[in-house]
């Protein structure tokens, strides 16, 4: 059993090493402005079931240079899902200026903003670990105090409230990153219908590169919502899920 694990981990190491070599090779192609070659090299890393936020970022840059805005935005968003980075956010802003649609975001209430920036300090997995650690720590303290007659009521109540906050943060983070499905429009123009049928009213149209949130799916139709709050139905084929 131990040997098997060892071999598997060794294989994985070799795999990542090969992937990182490819990454360096692709970077060279990027420097030489061979963006299509760079894209195919970066993509070959993805086919090895390997990923990283930097990889998606570089892919986004390649597509940006090749003026494929929808693909650039898709990869920047994907990079941000793995890790938040100022460079990525700024590049994404630039790419968003190039596309046709300009969606005005509804301004959030200040406490919601604070809360979301607080949540984005850690990723979902870290939040899960933090809340689990805190609650188990609280349990150990509680048990210890039981047997030693050594009361730590204040400390315990602080731990409980921390656990409460972290479990709420975990929930929000899970909702925002795992449950929430987002996509980028890839076809040049999509008409948003009021119902999942072709002859229903056309509400508005979206163009390639716009970000949408997927609320529901019925057959080939998906219920979408965009950042300004309007929603409707489009066919699933027009977009690529993040």
């Amino acid at each position: 059993m131990k040997r098997l694990i060892f071999i598997l981990s060794l294989l994985f190491c070799i795999q990542t090493f090969a992937g990182e070599q490819l990454f360096l090779q692709a970077n060279k192609e990027y420097v030489n402005e061979n963006y299509t070659a760079a894209v195919s090299l970066y993509d070959s890393i993805l086919t090895k079931e390997l990923e990283s936020s930097e990889l998606y970022y570089n892919l986004g840059n390649c597509h940006y240079k090749a003026q494929d805005w929808a693909n650039a935005i898709w990869h920047y968003e994907k990079s941000l899902k793995l890790e938040k980075n100022d460079k990525t956010i700024q590049n994404l802003e630039l790419a968003n200026l190039k596309i046709i649609d300009r969606i005005e975001e509804i301004p959030q209430l200040f406490y919601k903003k604070w809360w979301s920036s607080f949540i984005s300090i850690f990723n979902t997995f870290s939040w899960q670990l933090i809340s689990i650690l805190i609650i188990w720590f609280a349990l150990t303290i509680k048990i210890l105090s039981q047997f030693t007659n050594y009361k730590k009521e204040h400390f315990l109540s602080i731990l409980y409230s921390l656990a409460l906050i972290s479990v709420f943060a975990t929930y929000s983070s899970y909702q925002g990153n795992i449950t929430k499905k987002e996509a980028i429009i890839f076809t040049s123009s999509v008409v948003v219908n009021s119902a999942p049928t072709t002859n229903s009213t056309n509400l508005f149209s979206l163009h390639s590169g716009s970000k949408i949130e997927i609320l529901d799916t019925i057959g080939e139709w998906i219920n979408i919502k965009i950042a300004n709050g309007s929603s409707g139905w489009i066919k699933e084929s027009g977009c690529k899920v993040l």
Binding site: T16, G19, E20, E51, Y57, N91, A138, Y174
Partner: protein
Amino acid sequence: LKRIILILFVFISTLSFAQKLKVTADKNPAIVGEQILIQYSIDTKGDKFKSPNFSGLRVLSGPNPSTSSSYTFINGKSENKISTTYSFYIKAVKEGTFNITPASIKVDGKTIKSKPYQIKVVKGSDRNKAQQKAIADNLFIKVEVSKRNIVVGEQILVTYKLLTRLDLHNTELSSLPALNGFWAKDLETSSRFKRDVIDGVAYNVATIKKSVLTAQKSGKLSIDPMELKCSIRKKSNKRNRGFFGGGIEIQEEFISSKAVTINVSELPTPPANFKGAVGSMKIKSEIDNSTAKANDAITYKLTITGTGNIELVEPLNIQFPEDFEVYDPKISDKIFEGGRKRSVKNFEYLLIPRYKGDYTIPSSSLIVYNPKRKKYTTQKTNQHNLIINANTNIDDENSTINQQIIKTEKKDIHYIFTTTKLKEIRDNVLNKNLFILIFFLPIFLIILLWIHNTIVGKNDINSSDWKNKKANKIALKRLKYAQNCINNNNFDSFFEEIEKSLWGYFADKFKVSIADLSKETVSTHFYSNAIDNNTEKQFIALLDECEFARYAPASNKNAQMDDVLEKAKKIIIEVETSLK
């Protein structure tokens, strides 16, 4: 009576006659290819004429309104007549019977409609046909196109020639060709007739129109026909020869050219910076001074020479140094035959260097598609090195003080990451249910512990060891102020504090109101709680001692204070431990 009716009838009929819109045609039935003059006339003034619908017939011109008025004076009676006529020239294109819908006109606010009119068009007799053919053979427009298969941006020369063997009196353009998808430039033509022999037949040939067309989009683009109204002078067949031997008749004839289709194909995948220049062009750049002083103007001249759509070439994107003030270029061109012959286009940039230093104007390039070689070529300008010296005329100090604020005007994306750490693609989170299990298990355990403590755990806490500790703590807490008094050597308030603390403790412990505090209540409560008699005595003795000490202090104050405090502590501990 009969007479009256007759008079009335005549009266009505004349009245109605005056308000009629009459339709007349100069020939009905007509022959295919013939022109028909249709006139709508009314004997009053009218306006807002609504044209009829000539379905199946071709309208050559019209409606042409005309009014006439006549004034007659017969036998002392004067009469004023006004009539309005709208005339149409119609061409019968095919045979058959054609219905012309009624036309309408407004007279004094009333709408008057004409009757529907029918025109019969019949096949001409051979003689008629021959006559038509004779005209068609001897009078026509020929369209010459230099090339029929071109690419977008390529130019073609289109020439319209009028060929005739007839005696032309006058020609008039009746419709210009529509040129959808082309950018047209007309060239100068001389409309003088020249003699030309085509297929052994001599014609009088005039070039009516000559234009250079540049294709703007791909696909099958058609050059619509051009129509010409010609008046032909003919010798009259009629025998009414006049005094001057005249007998000349003028016949009007409409002729049109054939529509021409041009196949415009898309350019082969253009390079990134291709701006649509097609032809064969050369580019050259010049600079009037390679050394200049700061703030002195320099002229940078870019010249494009060659053939093709040179007129449509836009200014190149030249990366001038950031410290240069650049003005919009002055564009001048000399285009010959719309660019089909060697033409020149100049862009003159005025540059003003603001600071001294060495600068370079990098070479810029123009990508041209050559339709003959079917290839893209890149024309490059030279790179120019400039040496800008400090300008002595202006205070040098001033110019150095004039600092520049660094600003980024253009935005570009950040550079790529050069290193990365790859991970396997998978959702890096705990399963929702697993998380709930791991997180809520300790909570569940904590709740269990709490329930256990509240229900069962009380006895556990009552263990004597624990109780002693607790009693000690309570005593210390109660006697805190008294302790403070010892530390501050405050003899007077010490006993008061002790007394207060003891009473307060008693009141809190046995829930006695302050008004009921007395030595009797102490004994009753101590008794009911089964506290040792000895303890009660000590308690009361201590209270007495405190009272006494307040009024008759002992000689050794500090020793007494320590002793009293110790006693008080002991009593409280004893009460605490003996209570259940």
